[in-house]
Amino acid sequence: MEKGPDHGKHRYGMVIDLDKCTGCGTCAVACAAENNVSVRQDESDKERSISWMQIFKITNGKPYPDTEVSYFPRPCMHCEEDGHGHHTSPCVTVCVATATKLDPNSGIVSQIYTRCIGCRYCQAACPYKARYFNWWDAYFPKGKGLDRYLTPEVSPRMRGVVEKCTFCHHRLMRAKTRAYAEDRREIEEDEYITACTEACPAQAITFGDLNNPKHRVSRLAKSPNAFRLLERLNTKPKVYYLSTKDWVRKLADNYLPDEFKPLS
């Protein structure tokens, strides 16, 4: 990978506090609205519907009345190089047409719709199901007026390509553009946050630069309650979760019997 002057300078990441998360789904709706994600007539076909931010519901499996539910909101994890130089993000490594890339300056895993050939190898490689194929053309029936709310910041996708969460990359562009216009080189912590972060009514999501010790995310990611999904697979996700509940923490990864270390 080419090393620019800013190589490795920023690593944007996210921390989602599951104790705060109410499972309301505002983040998922905000994401779809922000990124012109098409809604299909039958969204219950979960295998083929598109939700860059997908909410997974989990339960502790205990019988009534000790049952508890919780939620994992799951954007793209913006996986990283493994640190041994062996491989980069699972999806980036495999993409045939370099249609998805790990930007070394922001850590964002991009997706270039107009280059994607739709082979779906990246989907097979991603263990988080964060990638979505456009099985149909975007659904904006003629004369219905639905296309009136589309934002020009993100181009709607054509069928036959894969899409996914981009950490609202256009918002980074927006912030950078403004900073440059004001003759600044760097952007402030709150200048670039993602649509889901901004939308969460419970403030369960924090976004920022994991490399910047002043940013809240870098502090939260070091919390003893912080963990990542499938961390053991060495995908180096930049999305962290917080939870004080052991049963929730345990569901984030696979553990051999007696391997899981409870917090309490």
Binding site: K46, T151, P156, A202
Partner: protein, 821 residues
């Protein structure tokens, strides 16, 4: 040329190279790929100048501050506002998806229409606004000419106290009809309980953020209770900066989101929350954990007393001691006695405990006695008008408009009283009982109702026992809908006068549900109306003017905006408050200042102008701790024993014994008990032998279950064990399912005496054994492909009984059975 190896290789290489140098194949390949990147049927959103405008969301009574991102004249994104005190941050998912309710011609009426096909066929013809206005004006004028203005009925779902609601009621009164009815909500039950126990008409205000122990009796804090934007934001705070400082206990029969995410879930049998509240009260009394000073100095009816007629009255304490010992309550509620004792102790020992009620989202009314029981519990810990408790407020000083001057026709009509009997001997505390309309219309051959105006409501879908409303609407001669949406009720209408939708419409948002301080939001239009719709307020004023003298005189305003502005006179003159919020200190922190607040406006015009930009007026000040002169009950105290109920019973007992009156009110308690909070076993349709399960309709934050449809985006957040293609799921405890021999995903008929709907089985350990849970918000038969025929609407099979005393529908206790299909 000899074709030897040498030539052969030349030929091969030359051929291959030759093909490569012709541009044609490359050009074609490249062009075809470019074509795939520019398919003409993939929309290309036009660029333009970006701008953001602030306003207030009116998709639910929560009234969140929102910011709308625009590109030229297009609205492209809704975001939360940090400069708005209700939800300093994100909105709820419905509000977030709101643009889909603006830009969708298939779910909106884009112009006035009149029915041409049979009722309910959805066959309409475009008409002009002049034609539409004249059609309705003519109808109303006709009723007045015939001397039966009372045959005009309104069903209104606009928020309580909103200007639009006032104008509609005013139109009816000026016409001569008292038959203005409202879609009941928790606000109505709160209002009644407030009147009965505190004597105040102000909204029930819960000082959530200042409480340190929140005991919620089935209130769906995370499902959309109160002002959802506010509660969700508070939740984040409770689990964030305030971690560990506020404990939340959820009383619920199901492991809902609130129950799961609370610090403790107390699982009760569905519908027995009141018993639990009283059981806790019992423990407070026996363990001497209640606020004796409050009870002694500011309450009435707790200790025994002797009434003016010399009779000894036992009082609330005796009732608690007699009937609500933990062992007894445990049998009623299924909560172990020890847990009741522990919970009561924890509640009482908290610094600022607060008990909440209002079932689910509170979109539907709750039980009046249950609300009173929870209010009594708050009172017992001294939590009335205390920081972190239930705050007592007077009504907002919003101008209610001058009293209606009724002309001769109108006076005659008004004298005929209300059809639904609200405020009558049988339903003395109800303001309106829309649930009684169907039986009144259906039982008589010639219906007493001629014309129904439906505003901001979709009774055919949202009201429990929706089938009855359908039958009623089939019979009513003329139905007018102001709905901007092609909802179920509008489909039955004869005339459609479509309103604007929220971002196109000027509206007042009066005191978001449950908020602890007075606030009025101003929802400004941020976009020119997309279609030929008209503000319902303007239509009402226009109609009144068209009806000529007598009616028109009561409507001196040119348009809605003028009327709306006039209402703020009271605030401009008599109520100091603020019109902007900088987000630095939350209002619930500054409230303790004690009522001393300097208005940041000088006149009505100044206030009005400031509200246009900030979008709100609020008063973050409260006289905490003041109780003297606070309660406007006949005794001037907080009444554990409601003297107003007693009075009403006495007044009526001349027309029969009190027992008979109580029976008519649907109250099964007798004597003094009926005047106090108590638990009444819900009695509703269905013999347990035939209908073994209790149906519990539940609400979800990510589905709109009121008259506003769900934005299609929401379906991305609905799991496929909640909705799968056309089926919604009925949640059962695996044990219950095993007894019924039902497996995950199986299709069943959910049958009640009122009807049946199809669903699939979802096994959920968090469902109470013996109960069947169905989500509200699915099962539309109207709208477009995103909403229509998706899932089932439990309202169709609910057979609402009457909630004792209030007369509102009791929709939480229908019995059902499941049949495999």
């Amino acid at each position: 040329m000899e074709l030897n190896r040498r030539n052969f290789i030349k030929f091969l290489v030359g051929g291959v190279a030759g093909i490569h140098v012709t541009p044609l194949p490359w050009k074609l390949t490249d062009d075809s790929a470019i074509w795939t990147q520019n398919w003409p049927w993939v929309p290309v959103p036009p660029e333009g100048a970006f701008a953001t405008e602030s306003t207030v969301c009116t998709l639910c009574p929560g009234g969140c501050g929102i910011e709308v991102r625009k590109v030229d004249e297009r609205t492209v994104k809704i975001e939360g506002r940090t400069d708005y005190p209700v939800n300093p941050g994100g909105p709820c998912p419905v509000g977030m998806g709101g643009l889909q309710l603006l830009c969708n011609e298939d779910i909106r009426f884009t112009r006035p229409m009149k029915r041409v096909g049979p009722r309910g066929s959805g066959d309409f013809k475009d008409i002009t606004w002049d034609e539409a206005m004249e059609a309705l004006r003519g109808r109303l004028a006709g009723l007045r000419e015939q001397g039966r203005p009372e045959a005009l009925v309104a069903i209104d779902g606009s928020p309580r106290g909103s200007t639009q609601a006032l104008l509609l009621e005013r139109l009816l009164m000026s016409m001569g009809s008292s038959n203005y009815t409202r879609i009941p909500s928790a606000e109505d039950t709160f209002w009644m309980a407030g009147i009965l126990m505190q004597g105040n008409e102000g909204p029930m205000a819960f000082d959530l953020e200042n409480a340190d122990f929140i005991l919620s009796f089935g209130s769906g804090l995370l499902e959309g209770w109160g002002a959802p934007g506010r509660v969700l934001n508070a939740w984040g705070m409770w689990r964030g900066e305030q971690k560990g400082k506020t404990r939340i206990v959820q009383v619920d029969s199901r492991a809902s989101n609130t129950a799961s995410k609370a610090d403790r879930w107390v699982a009760v049998k569905p519908g027995t929350e009141a018993a639990l509240a009283l059981g806790l009260a019992h423990v407070l009394v026996t363990k001497n954990l209640y606020d004796r000073a409050f009870v002694r100095d500011h309450a009435f009816g707790f200790e025994p007393w002797e009434s003016s007629d010399g009779k000894r009255r036992a009082g609330f304490k005796a009732l608690l001691l007699e009937k609500y010992a933990p062992s007894k309550v445990s049998r009623m509620t299924g909560v172990p006695a020890a847990e009741i004792e522990r919970l009561a102790t924890d509640f009482a020992r908290a610094r600022a405990p607060l008990a909440l009620c209002g079932k689910g989202k509170g979109d539907l009314n709750g039980s009046l006695y249950e609300t009173m029981a929870v209010l009594a519990l708050n009172a017992l810990v001294g939590g009335i008008n205390r920081r972190g408790g239930v705050l007592v407020h007077d009504k907002l000083p919003l101008d209610p408009f001058a009293a209606v001057e009724a002309d001769a026709i109108a006076s005659a009509g008004l004298r005929k009283g209300r059809l639904d009997g609200a405020g009558s001997a049988t339903f003395p505390f109800a303001q309106s009982l829309v649930n009684r309309l169907p039986e009144l219309v259906l039982k008589s051959r010639s219906t007493p109702v001629d014309t129904v105006l439906v505003l901001a409501a979709n009774p055919l879908y949202t009201l429990p026992g929706s089938g009855a409303y359908r039958r009623m609407f089939e019979k009513v001669p003329f139905i007018v809908s102001f709905s901007p949406y092609r909802d179920e009720t509008a489909m039955m209408a004869d005339l459609i006068l479509p309103d604007h939708v929220f971002l196109e419409k000027l509206q007042d948002v009066v005191w978001p549900s449950g908020l602890q301080y007075p606030l009025v939001g101003l929802s400004r239009p941020v976009i020119e109306p997309l279609y030929r719709t008209r503000h319902a307020g303007d239509v009402l004023i226009g109609l009144a003017k068209g009806l000529g003298e007598g009616v028109a005189d009561n409507f001196p305003w040119e348009n809605f905006e003028e009327a709306l502005k006039e209402r703020f006179k009271g605030i401009a003159e008599g109520a100091p408050g603020l019109t902007s919020f900088d987000g630095s200190t939350p209002p619930w922190e500054t409230m303790a200042s004690g009522g001393d607040i300097r208005a940041d406006y000088e006149s009505l015009d100044d206030l009005w102008e400031k509200m246009q930009s900030g979008g709100l007026w609020f008063r973050p000040a409260h006289a905490y701790g003041v109780r003297n002169g606070l309660f406007k009950t006949p005794t001037g105290r907080f009444e554990f024993f409601s003297t107003q109920i007693e009075l009403a019973l006495e007044e009526q007992s001349q027309h029969g014994g009190t027992d008979e009156v109580l029976a008519r009110m649907g109250v099964s308690a007798r004597g003094d008990e009926a005047c106090m909070p108590h638990f009444e076993e819900a009695s509703s349709g269905g013999d347990p032998a035939h209908y073994p399960l209790i149906l519990v309709p539940y609400e979800m934050i990510n589905l709109a279950s009121g008259w506003i449809p769900s934005p299609p985006f929401l379906f991305k957040t609905i799991f496929d064990n909640q909705l799968l293609k056309q089926d919604s799921f009925v949640e059962l405890n695996p044990e219950t399912a095993a007894k019924l021999n039902l497996r995950q995903g199986q299709r069943v008929m959910v049958e009640s005496p009122a009807g049946r709907i199809q669903a699939r089985v979802s096994l959920f350990e968090g469902a109470a054994p013996g109960a069947a849970y169905l989500p509200l918000g699915l099962g539309h038969t109207a709208y477009d492909e995103f909403l229509k025929d998706k899932g089932a609407n439990p309202n169709e099979i609910i057979e609402p009984a009457r909630d004792p005393l209030s007369g509102l529908p009791a929709w939480w206790n229908t019995r059902v059975r499941l049949r495999r299909i």
